[in-house]
């Protein structure tokens, strides 16, 4: 459970916001890799450790991936239409370019020329249509390709795929970022484990979550430098940390701050920090109850000491945030003033709102991810200094997701896709959002959101996006105090590692060994 709840980004297709209508970019879609040591060199085997659980192994590219190790294998063997990137946050992959009709509903994706399956067959629109429909028809399809019915995914000739959305959606290409893996048309379910992909690496072997991949010499996206990638699945970050410290692997993917602290002291190891990786906001129920008054919610936001949270909860591996979800968005509103601790103002707001300071309020949390429960405890301490009594209740994960999530009045949550303000707005804050964690319903927000995704002119959408963020900063149900870095540890010889947050970390096609 713990791992799969993190896979929200797969669930949501990991959208982002900033793609321009008619964007037609070129190139292999590689994110700006980290470069430190000389010119890229061909050859070598990269040994990667990734988290995963033996009981949760799945080989279906369109299944519920709860193992980071499985997702890593899949995304190196198969290609998605688009991939996460820096600026804009969506780059071409199997789709070389895309454009929308004037209504922002019909989107045409052109398949990359020269794209071949590992068995040599060309990739056609029919393969893509079949794969996207298969994805859409899975049990979680509606949340992975929201607003696109299976029937509205069609081929136009051999080289173009047409997606028609139920409503105008300027972000549609972002929906295809993380789970639109393309397989050959009519691949039977019992042959998924050996199905040829189109990705930068071919599968050599896979067994119980561990795998070896070898270079795809004919990859359409550019030259792949590594001879092979060996992936070892780790049940715990601790074991993975030991493996990199002992030199048994070259890259410990998403290994976390504990390993990073040890690695900082070693010359032969390098810590890769990927900013804006994980949001761990506190949810305050906006619909009813003690936090329904926006002044109370603002007071709580003024009570938290954000620097202390980042320092103590994240061991310093993170950044302070400003109560706006989607901090990695290229169009994140950095000019909205940073909220800082102000106990006097908080007290004033609480008095105005007649907030009952005599009561004790439960803050419910889990130990699903490192630091979450600690963030709740530290926040409760900060609140106590303002006279608000908060009692932290740790719930077992299963109980939390059943009983507290989306229902509680004050609880912690976490999100792994943070490079799109609009994606998170659509999921969490629009009045009828499927996962409106705080039961936030604000007509002005909904209106701004709709203009931000559906207005005909780019300038109008940009202005609306700023408004969306202002409203969030002012009165949403979230207290977002900071953002945790994603942390990988690598040996000094590994070069060209991805620095993107979230699942951007699996893009190892440009990685090489010194």
């Amino acid at each position: 459970m713990y791992v799969n709840r993190r896979q929200l980004l797969i669930a949501g297709g990991g959208l982002g916001a900033a793609t321009l209508v008619g964007c037609s970019s070129r190139g292999g879609g590689a994110p700006a890799p980290q470069s430190t040591g000389g010119s890229p060199k061909r050859g070598g085997t990269l040994r990667v450790g990734a988290l995963g659980r033996a009981g949760a192994i799945t080989r279906d590219p369109h299944g519920t991936q709860s193992n980071e190790s499985d997702y890593l294998v899949l995304s190196l063997v198969f290609d998605t239409l688009t991939v996460p990137a820096g600026k804009p946050n969506t780059a071409p992959r199997l789709a070389a370019s895309w454009e929308a009709g004037p209504d922002l509903r019909t989107w045409r994706f052109k398949i990359a020329p020269g794209a071949l399956f590992h068995d040599g067959g060309p990739v056609t629109a029919a393969d893509v249509v079949w794969s996207l429909r298969r994805l859409r028809n899975t049990k979680s399809g509606a949340s992975r390709l929201p607003g696109v019915q299976a029937d509205n995914i069609t081929a136009d000739g051999d080289g173009t795929v047409v997606l028609v959305s139920d409503y105008p959606n300027a972000e549609l290409p972002l929906l295809t970022r993380l789970s639109s893996f393309v397989l050959k048309k009519d691949t039977p379910d019992n042959a998924l484990d050996k199905a040829p992909g189109t990705g930068p690496f071919k599968l050599d072997w896979y067994r119980n979550g561990n795998a070896r991949l070898v270079r795809n010499e004919k990859w359409y996206g550019g030259e792949v430098l590594l001879d092979a990638v060996e992936i070892t699945m780790f049940e715990t970050a601790q074991a993975m940390s030991n493996a990199i410290l002992a030199g048994q692997i070259d890259l410990a993917s998403n290994v976390g701050p504990v390993a990073a602290r040890t690695a900082e002291t070693r010359k032969d190891l390098r810590v890769v920090r990927r900013a804006d990786d994980m949001a761990m906001p506190i949810v305050m129920r906006a619909k009813d109850g003690p936090f329904a008054d926006p002044r109370v919610r603002e007071a709580l936001r003024l009570v938290v000491d954000r620097d202390a949270m980042v320092k103590q909860v994240l061991s310093g591996y993170g950044t302070v945030a400003n109560d706006i979800m989607g901090t990695g968005d290229p169009r994140y509103a950095r000019d909205i003033p940073q909220r800082v601790r102000n106990l006097a103002r908080a007290g004033q707001l609480l008095t105005e709102a007649n907030f009952d300071l005599g009561k004790t309020y439960d803050l419910i949390t889990t130990e699903d991810i490192a630091g979450l429960a600690e963030s709740a405890t530290l926040f409760a301490n900060h609140a106590r200094e303002a006279g608000i009594r908060i009692n932290v209740v740790k719930q077992e994960s299963g109980k939390f997701w059943d009983e507290t999530w989306q229902k509680g009045t004050l609880y912690t949550t976490y999100w792994g896709t943070n490079d799109s303000v609009l994606f998170l707005g659509s999921k969490l804050m629009v009045g009828d959002a499927g996962q409106n964690e705080a039961r936030f319903a604000d007509p002005a927000f909904d209106d701004a959101y709709r203009r931000a995704v559906g207005a005909a002119d780019e300038a109008g959408r940009a202005a609306a996006l700023v408004e969306v963020q202002k409203i969030q900063h002012e009165r949403s149900g979230y207290l977002l105090w900071g953002m945790a870095d994603g942390i990988d540890v690598a040996t000094a010889k590994v070069q060209g590692l991805p620095t993107l947050a979230g699942y951007g970390r699996v893009q190892l096609q440009s990685t090489w060994l010194r």
Partner: protein, 345 residues
């Protein structure tokens, strides 16, 4: 994780009745063999029933935990309807006893059911189970050898310094929690000295890539159990030292070693066998922790993930296999006791 430990304890409760000596020596030997077979059958039946009851407990326990496999394998964005459909697909909407009966009736055919993610449980356990057996088996052999050696050594020098050192060390070894011991081993034998690989990396065959990867997990399992069994061996030998035939042997002027090995040890074997057999449960239970710490590709890691995922069939499949292994060892212990106790008469 929790599922295996009570299982081990339940299956490990050896029945004193089975230790009763065989029938009178003057009885006809064929008759005696028949009765022995009958009794062995009864023991087997009883152990099988214990295992079945244990599996029923496992099913119930997973049911009581909050959440189920449908929510555990759902994406966070899934609607309530999608989760309900998933629940139906997994058969979780059916009554518990019905699911349990279906699963149990398929069990004798070797069908362990399907996991919450639609994989065959037998496939999921095919590689991990032998890996765990290899690990626990090696730890078992080491435990037996070391605790017999240390126990005898201590008993040969009663009250002397060797005896005291062994006694204290054994108690300490047993008291150290698995994860503390494992972490200490990694620090000393791998990160500081670089002598051994810190974790297990499996190759294309699904087995540890190098045999040296087995050393630390085996030590982590065997050290606490050796501590426990050394004390048992020592105590059993002390009891035997007062037995008339041992006393007689000593008075005959036989050497200490000879008295110990030829006269005291055979009499102590039933108690020692029981102690060591009980350790089997602890070894397999401890494997859950130790495998996770060392990334050993065994059943412990499967089980830990399965409990988190509320994957009832996968948990039950693991427990059934582990339970069967423990049951076999307990049966073997029963045989040893029956045989040695009989020979003593």
């Amino acid at each position: 994780m929790a599922a295996l430990t009570p299982g081990a304890a339940a299956a490990g409760s050896t029945d004193p009745a089975t230790a009763s000596p065989p029938g009178p020596a003057r009885a006809h030997s064929a008759h005696r063999a028949g009765r022995a077979a009958l009794r062995a059958g009864a023991v087997l039946l009883r152990r099988t029933l214990v295992l079945a009851a244990l599996l029923a407990v496992v099913f119930t326990a997973v049911e009581i935990l909050p959440g189920d496999a449908a929510t555990a394998t759902a994406d966070r964005g899934d609607s309530a309807a999608a989760i309900a459909a998933r629940r139906e697909h997994l058969g979780l909407d059916r009554p518990l006893w019905e699911r349990f009966t279906d699963w149990m009736t398929a069990l004798p055919t070797g069908d362990l059911g399907t996991s919450a993610r639609g994989e065959k449980v037998a496939d999921l356990l095919r590689d991990p189970f032998p890996n765990t057996l290899a690990l626990a088996g090696a730890a078992f052999v080491l435990t037996v050898a070391a605790s017999l050696a240390l126990g005898c050594l201590a008993a040969a020098r009663p009250g002397r310094r060797t005896d005291r050192v062994i006694g204290h060390t054994a108690t300490t070894a047993f008291a150290i929690p698995d994860f503390v011991l494992a972490t200490g081993l990694v620090l000393v034998l791998s990160l500081w000295t670089g002598w051994l690989p810190a974790v297990t990396v499996a190759d294309a065959s699904g087995k540890p890539a190098e045999w040296t990867m087995m050393i630390m997990p085996v030590l982590a399992l065997a050290i606490p159990q050796t501590g426990w069994n050394t004390r048992i061996v020592r105590a059993a030998l002390t009891d035997q030292a007062d037995a008339p035939h041992v006393e007689a042997a000593r008075l005959d002027g036989l050497s200490t070693t000879r008295v110990l090995l030829r006269h005291a040890l055979p009499g102590a074997l039933p108690v020692i066998a029981t102690g060591i057999a009980t350790s089997t449960g602890m070894l397999l239970g401890g494997a859950v922790v130790v495998e996770t710490l060392f990334n050993h590709p065994g059943m412990g890691t499967v089980l830990a993930g399965a409990v988190a995922g509320r994957d009832t069939t996968l948990i039950a499949g693991s427990v059934a296999l582990a339970g069967a292994a423990i049951t076999l060892v307990l049966l073997a212990a029963d045989l040893v006791r029956a045989k040695t106790a009989g020979a003593g008469r």
